[in-house]
Symmetry: C3
């Protein structure tokens, strides 16, 4: 594995899941594998799980870690080309990426979308320019359009809990007070489909995801039909892709609550966290024994460690 | 030791002080004791000594450390239950604590009081909810009502300098330009009494601490009488507990100055730092050979390392 | 080496460059040299290269590292003496330095000038007071008037690329939209002269550096004459020293562009970064094969590691 920005960087998901299970059993099995290697974690945005789990994953492999809050600790980054840099951005991404690539053997990057300019966001300029100029492997710690370490952890979690070979996995839109990225849903659908699950997405009209991410999934506007007999419900808000970045709906009937969950086959409740209680999910559901959000978060270390090990394998040759 | 939030978590202070002395002599004696263990340091507030000394203590034991400025690095935390989370708080403490507990073997938390709602502050909701939901040991790095790592370091320091078996230890209120918590004085009195010192507290009327913390100490309103023959003077400002969070007095006669110190038995000067010079203490006093504030701060590493070792002992079984 | 704040701390630059070359060849040769040692990195200002390269240098030597953004993570620092501390500064530099000196075996400090009060800036109060009160070696990670780790890396880089024993090295002023410190140019000239290069400085009238830094260098106001036959061009903006902190000139003819570079002997282009493209340097020049800015930044690790090793040598005795 050279870089890790989406499911498309995974050649054999089944093999990767087997490795993940092995790492979960024995997190320190490869504790010298990353010796003399440094992972840089660059945050353009807030992070809790990703920040801690990726750091820990690298440390479990014996890597050194350096964390940088780019905008606060260093300089605002210019990502456009050919401009006269006389504004508030002090450093160009070409230099920033190339320099950090000299200090780090692997670079993790978190960069949210603007939710204002769809074309710009979906071009993934930040992570793609880092890949182009850093000269070392780049790991997405959530980019404008995907959150692959989260999705990998999600699949690890489903594998752990599933009772049938091909569970029905529902991605269920839920209301939220702020406009959120489509990265988690985009990415989740890609991975769920790749894992071979019966993947269903439900949302109000206007919340259709970019169809290039939902190939192989069923879009079901009838929420009750969607929840019916689901084995896993992944609740998640996202803002509109078609009316880009807009909030079109606040209907609390879409909250993942006991009424909706009653339609399922005792589905496990999933969410990437952080989650707005009683907006995205009711207390009742997230506090129930069927809620597996904490284990899902715990698997973020497993996912990151498995990915880093793949990358180090390639580097170690 | 399961958690460390106050003197009440210490079963044998004498034994703990013996261990501290041993760790002070040889800081690297247990340098592999925390191998494969991660300490998370969560800061809801500013910190210099605690941040560096606790990190160093964990590193001296061979632990990995991860530092998180909660509000800046991650998400604002909701601590109330049953609320609809449609405000500025993106994550509930139940999830935050449980998730961090999956990534860390020990969690250190710094969380100051609001100084607005006494009942809320004294309920210690942040640290208590972390204890309830994290599933791993929690170490207070200063909570709303106590600063036990500081107090432990204070007692280590007094043991180091005392010339009589039962020194007279004075906690002397001093003026300040801002409203400060009662955590350091509350905690100091508890530890000084537990250590068997003759413990005296002096302050203007209206600055009475919560009496549940001062059992065993003498409250002496007459400042001169209080300073008289003291062996140690711990100067400290705090805001009013009775008129909660208020500043009632700015009288510079309460500054720990040469005139007050002249009444003592060549008392050592102590303060937890940071200290406002010429407000809480005069330059003359803090710069004198009897000032032991730097050694006191140095002992923060010893205190934290001793506590972490106790916790790891229990974890290692 | 006791402290490292300027070329004056280097007794034998030639020997230091030989060591640097050795460390560059084998970065992990001394990987246990700093065992049980902690480096504290204190930032009063933004940093990318310095932050990451110095951390990495310390880690390559087996040191533990602790990073502190002083103003954000801890308390604002009072540097004046004798004041009543009733403003926004909660801690005095005397205590801050002494305490950090108890937690760290080496302290790195970044502290920019105000660019308002020349005398205060050039007195280097922050770093000098840390040296005075910390009790441990202090390494400048850029102070008000110098950036010696950068300059050392610059000389390492020139040694790597030079084709003649005594290359012509030009420090060329360039325009900028903000008022910048003189630290990089001051320091670069000192090191270039000490390294024995033919050192030329060119700038518009009014941008004369403090002459105590430019001894041994030629000041050439005629820009074309200055660029003529240069082997290395170090472009850099700085604000006026004589009209302290002022921007006197915005003439884009001073931008390091292809026209200026055409006068040189195929000069290598250098800059400390971050650099404002198309203001300080044209895209054409920085993107050309003669641009060595990334290698120059990479050498920051080598410079820091060599300096830290010298300091540890002295500590290890």
């Amino acid at each position: 594995m050279k870089h890790f920005t989406s499911i498309h960087d995974v050649t054999d998901l089944h093999a990767l899941l087997t490795e993940a299970a092995e790492i979960k059993r024995d997190p320190f099995k490869y504790e010298t594998f990353g010796r003399h290697r440094t992972m840089g974690l660059l945050f353009f945005n807030s992070s809790l799980r990703t920040r801690l789990s990726t750091q820990k994953a690298a440390q479990n492999l014996g890597m050194n870690t350096m964390v940088l809050n780019v905008n606060e600790d260093s300089w605002k980054i210019e990502t456009e080309f050919g401009v006269v840099m006389n504004g508030d951005k002090a450093e160009h991404i070409k230099e920033a990426a190339a320099v950090i690539g000299k200090y780090c053997d692997v670079i993790g990057i978190r960069s949210f979308p603007s939710l204002k300019d769809r074309e710009a966001d979906y071009s993934e300029s930040v992570i793609n320019r880092f890949i182009r100029y850093a000269g070392v492997p780049v790991v997405s710690m959530e980019s404008a359009t995907r959150h692959p370490l989260q999705s990998f952890a999600d699949v690890i979690t489903i594998e752990q809990y599933k009772k049938t070979p091909r569970p029905k996995v529902l991605l269920a839109w839920a209301p939220h007070c702020r406009a959120l990225p489509q990265s988690v849903p985009n990415s989740f659908v890609e991975w769920a489909v790749a894992a071979g699950y019966e993947t269903v997405v439900t949302h109000p009209e206007g919340y259709e995801l970019d169809p290039s991410f939902t190939t192989g999934a069923v879009i079901e506007y009838d929420r009750e039909k969607a929840y019916k007999d689901a084995d896993f419900v992944y609740a998640k808000n996202w803002s509109s892709y078609t009316q880009y970045g807009k909030i079109l709906n606040n209907d609390l009937a879409w909250t993942c609550n006991a009424k909706n969950m009653a339609l399922t086959r005792h589905a496990k409740f999933m969410h990437c966290l952080p989650v707005r209680r009683n907006l995205v999910v009711s207390d009742e559901v997230i506090d129930s024994p069927d809620s597996i959000v904490i284990e899902e978060a715990a698997n973020r270390v497993v996912a990151a460690q498995t990915v880093l090990r793949e990358i180090l394998k390639e580097q170690n040759g």
